[in-house]
């Protein structure tokens, strides 16, 4: 009835690619080890590389799952291609969404929330003011930025309007 009973995953036995237990268990052990590794590296607080390390480990784990558990290594290349494309597009979404990260922090800080990060924003405002002097000092933006800084400290209400003026 079937010639698959003795198949070891070679193509001459038909279309099914049978995973040898050795590879299944080996991949699983690697996944468990990598999980332990990511917990360990996170416990070392390797800021600012912690996120990068965690994502590299997660991607290695993801590749192991996709290539072996999901058979992509032995599957038709087209299936792998469309699966890869979804990650490319997911990456594009995240990238485009993050283009303006940190761009509006001075304006947010100027709104004057009373919170512990305000001091950090004040420093950033100061830096932005200094930057403005260097970049477009001749347009008079520097004074605006410095005013914004002062306003953020006392009452931020007028500052967003000024920022819009730029």
């Amino acid at each position: 009835m079937s010639d698959h009973a003795h198949s070891h995953g070679h193509d001459d036995h038909g279309f099914a690619h049978v995973m040898p237990p050795r590879i299944l268990v080996g991949v699983w052990l690697a996944l468990i080890s990598l999980t332990a590794l990511t917990v360990w590296t996170a416990s070392m607080h390797l800021h600012p590389f912690d996120l990068l390390i965690a994502m590299v480990i997660a991607t290695i784990k993801g590749l192991l799952v996709a290539l072996f558990f999901m058979h992509l290594k032995y599957d038709r290349p087209f299936n792998g291609l469309i699966f890869m494309m979804s990650f490319v597009f997911a990456g594009l979404f995240v990238m485009f969404a993050m283009f303006d990260t940190h761009r509006n922090q001075t304006a947010i800080a100027a709104r004057g929330y009373d919170d512990p990060i305000k001091e950090a924003w004040r420093e950033e405002l100061q830096k932005a003011a200094e930057h403005a002097v260097v970049v477009d000092g001749e347009h008079g933006s520097a004074e605006h930025a410095t005013e914004g800084n002062g306003a953020a400290g006392e009452q931020g209400a007028s500052t967003p309007a000024e920022n819009q003026g730029h």
Binding site: A58, S86, F93
Partner: protein, 289 residues
């Protein structure tokens, strides 16, 4: 129609009124070969998995934007999650992925006994995952660390941190109890409390909370993204359980043969994707520093 891709038909020799060609009940009329049938189904499931990745990518976008703009929220709030449970659940899902992959192997070899065994093991792990998740969700509910507008932590459960939210001093409730036990002779440092003593702890915890480093203003966003990402993932685990019960029933009935095991393979592929997403969720939610 004499052709059916389902079930019982696989075991019995189907009546073939046509008689003009060999008729296999596990092969649908519109396919030439089993391989063609399998490949068509497989392409379908891969396209479905693509839509799943794009579905989740919206939440990964939100996560990235919030974390980039408010790192302090994520550094502070991740202390509320228990890395131990997250790691155990990662291992539970990895075990289930192994058994799912092994189920596919058993189906390809026509090994019904091991096929059923591996599907059952996968289901056990899936329920284990949900059980651990429910322990975590219950704790969040009891502490009041819920998403969005429902974020209203009990003073006792608030985590007091120093060092720019990096180091946890302790739960306000525990700190309050230590202080009270130190000040008032007879106040129990451990064990059960009377209602009056609980009230004292509650008040002291609120005082400690008020005078310590304030928590970041938008902590609720962390719990929103946490509940949405793990909730959507948990929903997929439930869907996987339903799918595997269906595959289990068919496997018991003997539907699957070495040339007809698509349903096992496709369900396993979906299950590996659920595992794959958790592989990213675990470090992104539990391992922040």
């Amino acid at each position: 129609m004499t052709t059916t891709t389902t079930a019982g038909a696989a075991q019995h020799v189907a009546h073939d009124d046509h008689g003009d060609h060999h008729h296999d009940p596990t092969l649908a009329h519109h396919f030439d070969t089993h391989e063609q049938q399998f490949d068509a189904g497989k392409l379908g499931i891969w396209i479905f998995l693509v839509t799943e990745i794009l579905f989740f990518s919206g939440l990964f976008c939100a996560y990235s934007i919030w974390r980039a703009n408010h790192t302090e929220v994520f550094v502070y709030a991740h202390h509320y999650l228990d890395t131990k449970w997250g790691a155990i659940n990662t291992v539970v899902l990895l075990v289930s992925s192994l058994t799912a992959a092994w189920a596919v192997r058993s189906a390809q070899l026509g090994d019904k006994k091991n096929l059923v065994r591996n599907i059952v093991l996968t289901l056990v792990c899936a329920f284990g995952f949900l059980g651990i998740k429910s322990i975590e969700y219950t704790a969040k509910y009891q502490h009041g660390t819920m998403p969005g507008n429902y974020f209203d932590p009990h003073p006792e459960a608030v985590l007091i941190t120093t060092d720019n939210y990096n180091t946890v001093v302790g739960e306000a409730g525990e700190l309050a109890r230590e202080e009270l036990a130190h000040e008032m002779p007879g106040f129990p440092a451990e064990g059960e409390l009377t209602d009056g003593q609980k009230e004292l702890v509650h008040q002291r915890a609120a005082e400690i909370y008020a005078k310590s480093d304030k928590i970041p203003p938008a902590v609720a966003t962390f719990f929103s993204i946490y509940f949405f990402m793990t909730g959507l993932h948990g929903f997929h685990v439930v869907a996987g359980i339903i799918a595997f019960f269906w595959v289990l029933r068919r496997a018991r009935r003997g539907d699957f043969t070495p040339t007809y095991f698509g349903a096992v393979d496709y369900t396993a592929l979906y299950w590996h994707l659920v595992d794959l997403i958790w592989i990213y969720l675990f470090p992104l939610l539990y391992l922040i520093s």
